[in-house]
């Protein structure tokens, strides 16, 4: 890696639920402008990793964001610092309209209604489907549209780092491909940094700057997408060819 600035950095991150420890000391790094993909099977601890970073579950170890420890920060403080999570299973607010969902995404912003409205217009232009349905209840959207909405909503807070928790879940392969394309483009055009956890290795590898493999709460391998897909055993286990 060249001299990129580190955005997110976890050291011996441990987390779990009550007596059950799921993550056993995770060290990962996300540099500015990267898409980092964490691959793992069911139960590997992918969602737990997302939750530990966004502060929705208790965790130990150290997490640094832009060189500052956010270990003791509450969830809303972490959002204000610039880390926003797209929760697994989309997690839109079904009773709010599409437009209100986007406005809810701008909850932490303090730069006025004009700037927020401009951003809404911007994301409508990226996702025209959302504009067509702006006054509909979010709950009435299809799965793909809801995933778009969830991503657009997260982007409404102008995050520095976007956490995506299995965006492909429950989506048709074609939609998933489009979705990853959009994430890839956002990264290229806007310089958005992304940390994405996935099971769908094939598609995720395409847009990844770097890849980590997560197995039962431990990082077992890491490297560039090319390096990892060159490794025979990994390719067999995760890519299925």
């Amino acid at each position: 890696m060249t001299s990129q600035t580190t955005l997110l950095n976890t050291r011996f991150l441990t987390a779990g639920y009550g007596p059950v420890t799921v993550l056993h000391g995770i060290d990962i790094e996300v540099n500015e402008g990267e898409i980092v993909v964490v691959l793992g099977a069911n139960g590997a601890g992918k969602t737990t990793l997302m939750r530990a970073i966004s502060g929705t579950i208790p965790r130990t170890g150290n997490i640094e964001f832009e060189g500052r420890s956010i270990k003791k920060d509450s969830t809303d403080a972490i959002v204000r610092a610039g880390i926003v999570q797209v929760p697994q299973g989309r997690g839109t607010f079904p009773e709010l309209s599409v437009a209100d969902n986007l406005l809810a995404g701008a909850y932490v912003r303090r730069d006025g209604a004009k700037a927020v409205a401009d951003d809404i217009a911007k994301w409508y232009s990226v996702f025209p489907r959302l504009q067509e349905r702006s006054t509909q209840r979010a709950g009435s959207l299809s799965g793909g549209e809801q995933q778009m909405l969830a991503i657009a909503r997260a982007l409404m807070s102008r995050p520095k780092l976007l956490l995506c928790d299995e965006p492909s879940m429950g989506l048709a392969p074609l939609i998933t491909r489009e979705l990853f394309n959009v994430i890839g483009q956002l990264n290229k055009e806007e310089g958005l940094s992304v940390l994405l956890v996935e099971q769908n290795a094939n598609l995720a590898m395409h847009i990844a700057s770097r890849v980590y493999l997560l197995e039962t709460g431990v990082i077992v391998a890491s490297g560039s997408a090319a390096e990892l897909s060159a490794d025979d055993s990994i390719r067999k286990a995760y890519l299925g060819f």
Partner: protein
């Protein structure tokens, strides 16, 4: 079926409808105290009392999704704050309203502390305890000197006097007076003002950024948290505010003269009543509790003397003649079951459905700027999924 009319939100037609509705509302509000019978004014005041309590419960349960079966206690805190301030320190009853508001806010915020960690049935149980304990607490011998124990407090309202001011406008006096001869309209107007205050607070909150965060907490609290909503703080403040608002109509009941711990609305029955009024009217809608309270009070009054068989309308006699108590509660239980099937959003939701068949309101475009379809300007590709859109 296609609606017969379409109206643009914010257009002249929609404003005309608003003005007509507002005028009708003002007319009714003036008609009741000037031309209505005394019992009608009483009924209206009770309905307004329920309205205030149900509106405040609605902010907590309907919009934020936090159940409370302890609102009768906050209602009672309002009543007893006023009663104690008036009887102990001789305050003017109206001046006790902010105190009642503040006391209930603090108690509500304290009660919310467990509410931050628990939800659903467990939260219902914790708050139910509050509702059950409150009347017992009032009867506690050690504080009987303050609360009057189970006998309650008397003379907790206004001091009537022949020389009190009246507020006539050229001989026209819809407000009533405090000379002891025409006091019912006076209570009515206090109730109107209280409901108006509560309604405006709720409306202001619900239509704002905060309101979106409340519905977000109700719909998906994890997603709300990762959008940057401080769950603990928001829930705590809403609980406190809801409790504080509920204390205001409670305070009004004390202004009418007496308070006892066994008054129905101060016991757990009160909590259930507020809940029923809210659900029947429409949880999570601004007008629901208002409609619910009117309908609830109307049915309660109408069926009040249905204990004697010959008072029941002949058509309905076979269904209700066995009842030894007024059947209002039973009627409400049944209508609740029916409503859950026909109109899960209560009467307010049902009304919207019916009106929606006739009139379609075209909403204003979302966001504050005009949103003409913009060309993708930032070089980001637009994305149109090829997915067939089965769901509508």
């Amino acid at each position: 079926m296609k609606p017969l009319f379409t109206i643009k939100a914010g257009g002249p037609t929609s404003w005309a409808v608003r003005v007509v509705c507002a005028a009708a509302l003002v007319y009714v509000l003036l008609w009741i105290p000037t031309s209505g019978s005394n019992s009608l004014i009483d009924t209206a005041t009770t309905a307004l009392t329920l309205m205030g309590a149900a509106l405040s419960l609605n902010l907590l349960l309907g919009f934020t999704g936090q159940i409370s079966l302890g609102h009768s206690a906050f209602f009672g805190i309002g009543a007893y704050t006023t009663a104690v301030c008036v009887t102990r320190w001789g305050w003017s009853p109206l001046k006790t309203l902010p105190i009642a508001f503040a006391v209930a806010f603090v108690v509500g915020a304290l009660v919310s502390l467990p509410a931050l960690r628990i939800k659903g049935v467990y939260l219902a149980l914790v708050t139910l305890t509050l509702g059950v304990v409150f009347p017992q607490f009032i009867k506690w011998p050690k504080i009987e000197w303050l609360t009057g124990g189970s006998r309650g407090l008397t003379d907790t309202g206004f001091k009537f006097d022949k020389n009190n001011r009246t507020f006539e406008l050229f001989g026209w006096n819809p407000w009533g007076n405090l000379r002891g001869e025409n006091v019912k309209p006076f209570y009515f107007w206090i109730a109107v003002v209280i409901v108006l205050i509560i309604y405006l607070i709720c409306r202001g909150l619900v239509k704002s950024r905060v309101g979106r965060s409340l519905v977000a907490i109700r719909d998906n609290s994890t997603a709300a948290a990762v959008m940057g909503v401080n769950l603990a703080l928001t829930k705590g403040l809403v609980f406190g505010l809801s409790a504080a608002m509920c204390a205001l109509p409670g305070s009004l009941t004390a202004m009418k003269g007496t308070v006892t711990p066994d008054t129905a609305l101060l016991t757990v029955i009160g909590s259930i009543t507020f809940l029923i009024v809210m659900v029947v009217g429409g949880a999570g809608t601004l007008w629901g509790p208002i409609i619910g309270a009117i309908v609830y009070q109307f049915i309660t009054e109408k069926t009040g003397d249905w204990v004697e068989p010959d008072k029941i309308p002949s058509l309905l006699r076979p269904f209700f003649s066995w009842s030894k108590t007024p059947p209002a509660a039973g009627i409400f239980g049944l209508s609740l079951v029916v409503l859950m099937f026909v109109a899960p959003l209560g009467l307010a939701g049902f009304w919207k459905q019916v009106v929606g068949r006739v009139v379609a309101v075209v909403p204003k475009p979302a966001g504050s700027t005009t949103l003409e379809p913009t060309a993708p300007s930032d070089g980001i590709p637009t994305w149109q999924p090829e997915e067939p859109l089965a769901e509508q």
